[in-house]
């Protein structure tokens, strides 16, 4: 249960093709993250799967059944919204019970399931409060509770953590991953935060201007980005992308090297530069080195003894160098 297949799915708003054409397979029990910059069509794609938007062309199958024209209620999916979208006039209990009530379950079974969900999500103490009396994190848990009680074929998350503060976001991220381990239900998660994508996903779908740039596991995308866009988007801090003579020397239009794959030395190396801003994180130091090839971000140890203005040499690790052609595609 929970296999979602998209074939030639398109979405146009008037003349504008938000999603020109997409093929995608989401396997049963997978945690799939749609990631991309603002306006790349990731939320639209999720809404197409949910049935909240109609496709302009193509087919969406859920568990092998054509769901393209089914209304949202008939698709058996649950969605968690960015704004939580709780029913403000209902208590937490009635919010969580709502989908079960719509499904026509008997009251005692509803009560049992709601209590169980509230317990899993640590909501038992707030069960009779209204959403307005809850904090952001609690509201998000109620929204997740409302999604899990109905045991859907798949969960859809639309940037669920972006309204939470940084500390809470990390906690909720772990809670959602934990939930996935427990339930083993398919989850489709939309975010613009590539750290969320890297840490949570079994499979990441990188989207740009409505097109799928690459699909793969987090480490696949990190190690072998298929093009310059994915190379620049996945990884934090970003991969250094260099054009010009240095790239030509490697037989490419653009070369990419991640901050941790640049060796830094005060004596000798391939590219000369001057240390600019240093960001000390304790465990690591990120140095912004001004070189002839632009400003390069270098990851060094926490105890690195370099200061602003020091003359340094950088050497890229040859086997970690990514090469891209003039169209931005990876050169194998």
């Amino acid at each position: 249960m929970g296999k979602i297949t998209l074939r030639n799915v398109q979405k146009r708003f008037g003349e504008v093709a938000v999603i020109p054409e997409i093929d995608l397979d989401i396997d049963e029990g997978e945690f799939v993250v749609f990631v991309g910059p603002s306006g790349c069509g990731k939320s639209t794609l999720l809404r197409l799967i949910a049935g909240l938007e109609d496709v302009s062309g193509g087919v969406i199958q859920i568990d092998g059944v054509d769901a393209t024209t089914l209304p949202p209620a008939k698709r058996g999916l649950a969605m968690v919204f960015q704004s939580y979208a709780l029913y403000p006039h209902m208590s937490v209990r009635r919010n969580i019970a709502f989908p079960l009530k719509m499904a026509g379950l008997p009251p005692d079974e509803i009560a049992r399931k709601v209590d169980a969900a509230a317990k899993v999500l640590n909501l038992s103490a707030y069960i009779d409060r209204r959403p307005g009396q809850l904090s952001g994190g609690q509201r998000q848990r109620v929204a997740i509770g409302r999604a899990i009680v109905r045991e859907p074929k798949a969960f859809l998350f639309d940037e669920p953590l972006s309204n939470l503060d940084a500390a809470l976001r990390v906690n909720m991220r772990l809670e959602i991953s934990e939930l996935h381990q427990t339930l083993k239900t398919t989850m489709v998660y939309v975010t613009h935060d590539q750290v969320e994508a890297m840490t949570m996903a079994d499979k990441i779908v990188v989207l740009n201007a409505g097109r799928v740039e690459q699909v793969g596991s987090p480490l696949e995308l990190y190690r072998t980005p298929r093009n310059v866009f994915v190379a620049g988007f996945i990884g934090s801090p970003k991969m250094n992308l260099i054009e010009g003579a240095a790239a030509a020397a490697e037989g490419a239009a653009t070369i990419g090297i991640r901050p941790e794959h640049l060796d830094i030395s005060s004596n000798a190396g391939t590219w000369a530069g001057t240390v600019g801003i240093s960001e000390h994180l304790g465990s690591d130091t990120f140095l912004h080195v001004h070189s002839d090839h632009g400003t390069l971000n270098v990851r060094a140890g926490g105890e690195v003894g370099l200061r602003h203005g020091d003359r340094v040499w950088l050497t890229p690790q040859a086997d970690k160098l990514h090469r891209f052609d003039a169209k931005g595609a990876r050169i194998i």
């Binding site: 949910a50 909240l52 209304p71 949202p72 209620a73 999916l77 649950a78 969605m79 919204f81 960015q82 704004s83 979208a85 709780l86 029913y87 403000p88 006039h89 709502f98 989908p99 719509m102 499904a103 409302r146 109905r150």
Partner: protein
Amino acid sequence: MARAVSARRSLLTGILAWTIGLVIFFPILWIVVLSFKSEGDAIAAPLAMLRAPWTFEAYAEVQERSDYFKHFWNSVVISVGSTLIGLLIAIPAAWAMAFVPGRRTKDLLMWMLSTKMMPAAGVLVPMYLIFRDFGLLDTLAGLVGVLTLINLPIIVWMLYTYFKEIPGEILEACRMDGADLKREILYILAPMAVPGIASTLLLNVILAWNEAFWTLRLTASDAAPLTAFIASYSSPEGLFYAKLSAASVMAIAPILILGWFSQKQLVRGLTFGAVK
């Protein structure tokens, strides 16, 4: 020091606010006072009038001379009837405009509002002729119809701003939760929109109750509401101050009481959407 200044300032603001409030309220207060005096005393100099004995004379005479309850009932039918029919038309209209807007929805709303800017006297003759030809003069049905049309733009606008405040994601969430359109309206939209619908209803009942232009010109006796009842006591000759005041008090009292008890709803209705 800062506290002293702010205390003095708040005292001054208080006095100013009370003064403005009393100036605005004064005519109504004066009418109430006059209504409890005899006709002879009512035209005396203000101080002499105030010192004169209090009496229910004017009220008794008014009730004797004209049928207050008939006018009252006509006012109720016209104001409540036109508001309910207006809501019946406006709820689906505002619904569609708020949740499935088209490219011209904004223009349509502006056009509707612009009809309120036209002076009513401009269409008096055609309206009168239409009423005459359709036999609607001095009928409740005719007045309910015309007041429905007059207040419809305001009803649609008020409901539209209310519905706009209901986040679309909540409606989408309930669709995802398995609700069909009927249950979406029953369980989610209606409970969330009730305060908005209630204050729209209240405000429009008051507006229709107080409407005097059309009610005076399109009625004679059968369908005449309280506005016509008051007008019948205004006369260029004779002693009518006390009776006119008594009639006015009797006409505004019901709506004043309704307004007093529902002021919280009304203020909320009028400022809704202004502050998020």
